[in-house]
């Protein structure tokens, strides 16, 4: 098997990050205006999400959690159907039943999204077992947070994947926060990656705000999982720039730490690098931003025009 060509266009990654950011910003505005329910946004973590998803193959599978917008959009989800889902409309990917927190998109290989923190860790081993036993290509990427890593299911999931040799790429987005608690209050060290080692799971930590670094690390990690059939843990070290759940005044947030991270905003980092290298012109950058806005505007219009589910949906889809 010759390795796939995995050269990536940084401009395309910037575009994806921008789309995610624009999507989230529109949600923030609209929810502040009462037009949308609140959500857990991925603002500040776009590089961590886009960098990994762009490293996956089409037949790889993804499990994610409540902070999933950048994963979904990078995977190619339609922002209109996502916003419709957030708004509980029938045109949403889950007919409006999920809302923002458990959006799965089977056709894109985004499975079994759980908003129970750790739920994705609980399910990922089984998905990987199916891949392995049914001889299907494709590894399983499981996104979770540093908070989820504190749940016992983290230990159980990694241990089982290790013992059973399951092709799971665990991706821990260590964004420094666990809802209203700083990671510092919940663990002794700074890195989740170390927790994997004694379970026989190799791991690495990468600067989660540098999309190219994330992408390269994810290509490498995914390749290791593919080759070995064994799990690997990639920790993307990043920062949740907004509050836990919109709206959130972040009064509890350390301003200096936040400022330091905001100075390394993943989109700015990427854009400046591209501008500096001349691969992006200021005009093209403006056009990119404009294009993202237009897509999201159209998406929001679609979602808002979509009807709510029928009353019969109250009890449909419960049993097979």
């Amino acid at each position: 098997m010759t390795p796939k060509d995995r050269t990536i266009d940084e401009l395309a990654l910037l575009e994806q990050m921008l789309l995610a950011r624009t999507y989230e910003e529109r949600i923030i505005e609209s929810s502040a205006a009462g037009r949308l329910p609140g959500t857990c946004t991925s603002v500040g973590q776009e590089a961590a999400g886009v960098g990994v998803v762009s490293a996956l193959d089409g037949d790889d599978l993804i499990l994610t959690n409540h902070r999933s917008a950048s994963h979904l959009l990078a995977r190619g989800a339609d922002p209109g159907r996502l916003l419709a889902e957030v708004m509980g409309r029938r045109t949403g990917y889950c007919k409006g039943k999920s809302g923002s927190l458990h959006i799965s998109v089977r056709e894109l290989g985004v499975l079994l999204t759980s908003t129970i923190v750790g739920g994705e860790l609980s399910l990922a081993t089984g998905v990987a077992l199916s891949q392995k036993m049914l001889g299907r290509p494709g590894i399983v990427a499981c996104f979770f947070g540093d908070g989820a890593a504190c749940e016992g299911i983290f230990h159980e999931s990694l241990n089982l994947a290790s013992v059973w040799e399951l092709p799971v790429l665990y991706v821990c987005e260590n964004n420094q926060w666990q809802a209203f608690v700083h990671r510092r209050e919940t663990m002794q060290g700074d890195h989740i990656a170390e927790w994997a080692t004694p379970l026989g799971v190799d791991s690495a930590t990468v600067d989660g705000n540098d999309v190219m670094a994330v992408h390269a690390a994810a290509v490498d990690a995914a390749e290791r999982v593919r080759r070995s059939g064994r799990p690997f843990l990639l920790e993307t070290y990043t920062y949740r720039s907004r509050g836990h759940f919109e709206p959130d005044d972040q009064a509890y947030v350390d301003a200096a730490e936040r400022a330091a991270w905001l100075a390394r905003d993943p989109i700015e980092l990427c854009r400046q690098r591209l501008l500096a290298s001349g691969r992006l012109t200021p005009e093209a950058a403006a056009a990119q931003t404009q294009h993202a806005r237009e897509r999201i505007d159209a998406a929001l219009a679609f979602a808002e025009a979509s009807p709510y589910p029928d009353a019969a949906e109250l009890t449909s889809d419960v049993y097979a």
């Binding site: 329910p37 409309r89 923002s100 908003t115 504190c150 749940e151 016992g152 109250l314």
Partner: protein, 318 residues
């Protein structure tokens, strides 16, 4: 009387009990952030944030309770208790008995429950019936801000593990709350509205819905008595039976799934102990056998409505 929301009343109850008893402490995910006033008054040792790990939060509470502390833990949303079942059910509920009475487990586990936030079934499931069915545990679920304060104070003083569920939809609705040492004993229901034609029994967020239905019924000449259970365990069987013996008609109402919900226990209790007084079938209104959707109209349709309740009561009286 001052006006407080249930959220505030809970904070006041905890503060008062912490002042009264130095062994009371509180911990959970984000409690020290969200209830920073408690940290200010009582210090970080008695009001603690925890890692995101419900099982050890509950286990730690059980271990601490058995050895001299009186923990109050916040488990956030009822479905998250699925991670904490072992500590609550197998340890706190059973180890008093299995040890031949050597230990007690004076702890309170708080959780929000029910719809109202539009976030779907992994945050919204009413599971209070599980704990009523499990030995060694007590369960309360207030419908007013005053009861939040009074029942929580009683729960903290109780030497048994108490599950304290508060309906999300009520959490920020202000109500009158007595100042000072307002304690509502566990195990006593409240007659919220007397009536002679039909009894409506409920708890939590559907209690105000029953009161509204009683208003509507009154306009059609039906006098409904509305009983607020407040404690689901111990259950005030006497209050239930007394009312049904008087009215002869019963509608039980809750948001929890109807199937094998607490309403079944109440209907069964009445069918066994007040059968002779019954003038018609016992009706139960509850949620469908379905997870709760995030979508606003579906979430709203999950729980029984004023019209549902009034119609059920009327069907009995006609």
């Amino acid at each position: 009387m001052p006006t407080q929301t249930p959220y505030e009343a809970i904070g006041v109850a905890i503060a008062e009990e912490m002042r009264r008893d130095a062994t009371v402490l509180m911990f959970g995910e984000g409690v020290a952030t969200k209830r920073y006033d408690l940290v200010s008054e009582f210090g970080g040792a008695r009001v603690r944030n925890t890692p995101l790990a419900e099982a050890i939060i509950a286990g730690t509470a059980a271990g601490a309770a058995a050895t001299g502390l009186r923990p109050v833990i916040d488990l956030l949303f009822a479905p998250f208790l699925c991670y904490a079942m072992d500590a609550l059910v197998n340890s706190a509920g059973k180890l008093r008995y299995l040890s031949g009475g050597q230990f007690s487990f004076p702890l309170v586990a708080l959780a929000m429950t029910g719809g109202g936030w539009g976030v779907g079934a992994q945050h919204n499931q009413n599971i209070e019936a599980w704990f009523v069915h499990s030995p060694g545990l007590k369960v309360v679920m207030p419908s007013t801000a005053a009861d939040c304060k009074g029942l929580l104070k009683a729960a903290i003083r109780d030497d048994n593990p108490v599950l304290f569920f508060i309906d999300l939809a009520l959490l920020h609705q202000p109500g009158e709350v007595p100042e000072g040492d307002h304690v509502v004993p566990l195990g006593r229901a409240a007659v919220r509205r007397p009536g002679s034609d039909v009894t409506l029994i409920s708890y939590g967020k559907t209690l105000p819905v029953c009161l509204a239905a009683a208003d509507a019924l009154a306009e059609s000449g039906v006098a409904a008595e509305v009983i607020d259970l407040r404690s689901l365990k111990p259950l005030d069987e006497e209050a239930i039976l007394t009312s049904v013996r008087k009215t002869g008609r019963l509608v039980v109402v809750h948001e929890a799934a109807r199937l094998a919900g607490l309403g079944a226990e109440i209907a069964a209790l009445v069918a066994e102990n007040a059968f002779a007084a019954l003038k018609g079938p016992v009706l139960r209104l509850g949620g469908p056998d379905a997870p709760a959707a995030a979508s606003y109209p579906l979430e709203q349709a999950y729980a029984p409505s004023i019209a549902d309740i009034a119609a059920a009561a009327k069907s009995l009286c006609s």
